[in-house]
């Protein structure tokens, strides 16, 4: 079992490709975390379900949300807490 990170994007979001790259980088090498990328214009139901307002929104397993683009160092620190928790 792995913890899921949900990443909401949209075609108009200019920071999203960078952020998605960073996320894939961090999560790609771990078994403990998995990433689901959702484009709100293609999957509005999910956007509804998670009450998405701003893009990008990252939903972490502890229900914390990151709204707006952040840098890699910040994301790694966030992910580390889950990796420690899982091990």
């Amino acid at each position: 079992m792995s913890l899921q990170i949900i990443f909401f994007t949209s075609p108009t979001c200019s920071w999203c490709p960078y952020l998605e790259g960073v996320l894939r980088n961090i999560i790609g090498n771990t078994k403990e975390l998995s990433l689901e990328v959702i484009d709100v214009t293609e999957n509005v139901e999910k956007a509804e379900e998670y009450h998405i307002v701003a893009i990008p929104t990252i939903i972490l397993p502890n229900n914390q949300r990151i709204i707006g683009s952040v840098d890699e160092a910040f994301l790694r620190k966030q992910m580390d807490q889950f990796l420690i928790m899982m091990s």
Binding site: S10, V40, E48, V53, T57
Partner: protein, 468 residues
């Protein structure tokens, strides 16, 4: 397509109704009625089978349905019919925590709104309120500028977008949204005679000339209503009549009890006709009058004037329907009056006031006409006169009476006029230009002011006629 707001008077104010492809903002302070008004707008469209999407940022849908029920809207029935949808949109859903940066846009709510609009086929989208929405953002400026995309995308869809926005008390500049929207409907509240009065205006309208003047806006159990300044509905007020039919109508049915009415005239315009007309009307209605006489307006003169216009008031005089409080019961010259009045002390002024109170107590008469106050203002010192006027006004309100005070605005200082106007509830002004007399209402406790209208004086009752 034009969508009616369901409130006829509001439709008139915004050039017929809400235009598709346009965005409107309802602005007002907290509790002014933005949510209530937007719910009524939704209802107006729903009643015509126009689908509505209502986006709420602070209040949960169940609460809004209940809010609607308090006005018998039965919004649930429209939801069941698939005509209405409430969507809660807020940045921070319950039991989540947020980290925010300034690198984001609002494509999330744009996508959600567009999808809902499509499934409902919504032609009216209401967003209540943008202020509560923006307040959730740490980087409010980014949110506001990104919200421009929301406005552009949604109004592009051949639908109407209505935003509500909380105005701050000391707002001196227009907010960004105000530039972008096609119309601004403004609700203002003010405290008057211990009552909250709401006023509505349209300071901005792209499709037509904006209605800058304010109309009365009323929220009660039966819903919202707007009293148009030019011609408010007659049924609203059970008021005392002035006796000039058209004037009563334009003032919203008459004068509410407890009002101080200031009638301003220039030196040339004769206010006698209006004085006699008010007196005559009240006598005929059996209300009776108290005349507070003055240099130009003493008992003998009034009786004489009535004779001149062939109106017999002797029966009323015999029955005691008219109470004269005469300061000088004969014609005095201005010099004589000045001499007499200079002897008048503050004590005398109080005794005149006491006399009036006694007259109130003795009789049913609750209408008082103050003869020309101009001389008093010139004779008494300014502070004394103002104290006298304030005292009388207080008295009038206490007794739920109505006072008509006549004054020549050219003969008193600007400052004095401003003070009197402040105290008065209703201001009617006569003025002359090119041999034509005009009447206008500058102030009204009911919001029923009107612009100058031509007046014709006649020899017989009715002595005054207001032309269109």
């Amino acid at each position: 397509m034009i969508i009616s707001t369901g409130i006829e008077e509001l439709d008139n104010m915004i050039d017929g109704g809400l235009r598709t492809g346009s965005c409107y903002a309802i602005k007002g302070s907290a509790g002014s009625g933005k949510t209530v008004l937007s719910l009524f707008m939704a209802l107006g469209a729903l009643k015509k089978d126009i689908p509505v999407l209502f986006i709420s940022t602070e209040v949960d849908p169940e609460k809004l349905i209940m809010y609607g029920d308090s006005f018998d809207m039965n919004l649930k029935s429209y939801i069941d019919k698939g005509l209405l949808s409430f969507e809660k949109m807020s940045l921070k859903p319950k039991s989540t925590s947020l980290v925010q940066t300034d690198k984001f846009d609002l494509s999330g709510i744009i996508a959600r709104t567009q999808s809902k609009m499509k499934s409902l086929n919504a032609k009216l989208v209401i967003f209540d309120s943008i202020s509560a929405f923006f307040a959730e953002f740490v980087y409010e400026k980014t949110a506001r500028s990104s919200f421009m995309d929301f406005i552009r995308e949604i109004t592009d869809k051949k639908a109407v977008l209505v935003l509500t926005s909380e105005s701050q008390v000391n707002e001196e500049y227009s907010t960004l949204e105000e530039y972008l929207v096609d119309g601004v409907i403004k609700i203002r509240t003010e405290l008057k005679n211990n009552q909250m009065i709401k006023r509505i205006s349209v300071p901005k309208l792209r499709s037509a000339k904006p209605i800058k003047f304010e109309n009365r806006f009323i929220i009660d159990r039966d819903g919202v209503s707007i009293l148009r300044s030019e011609q408010p509905p007659l049924s609203i007020i059970d008021a005392e009549k002035i006796g000039v039919e058209k004037l009563d109508k334009m003032l919203g049915g008459g004068i509410p009890a407890g009002s101080v009415v200031l009638i301003e005239t220039d030196g040339e315009t004769n206010y006698f006709p209006l004085f006699l007309q008010i007196m005559c009307c009240n006598l005929e209605r059996g209300t009776g009058v108290i005349i507070h006489s003055n240099v130009h307006m003493y008992s003998a003169r009034i009786v004489e004037e009535f004779k001149r216009v062939e109106c017999d008031i002797t029966p009323h005089l015999n029955e005691g329907n008219v109470v004269f409080i005469d300061k000088y019961n004969r014609s005095v010259t201005a010099v004589e009056a000045r001499e007499m009045s200079q002897l008048m002390t503050t004590d005398d002024m109080i005794s005149v006031t006491v006399e009036l109170m006694q007259a109130f107590q003795k009789s049913e008469q609750k209408v008082i006409l103050f003869g020309d106050l101009t001389d008093d203002t010139n004779i008494l010192t300014e502070p004394n006169f103002l104290r006298y006027f304030a005292l009388q006004s207080f008295n009038i309100k206490e007794q739920s009476a109505i006072a008509y005070s006549f004054i020549n605005f050219n003969a008193i200082s600007r400052e004095m006029l401003a003070r009197l106007r402040n105290t008065a509830d209703i201001i009617i002004r006569f003025s002359r230009s090119d041999y034509t007399t005009y009447i206008e209402c500058l102030k009204s406790s009911l919001g029923a002011t009107f612009l100058p209208k031509v007046v014709k004086f006649r020899d017989k009752m009715p002595l005054i006629e207001i032309l269109d």
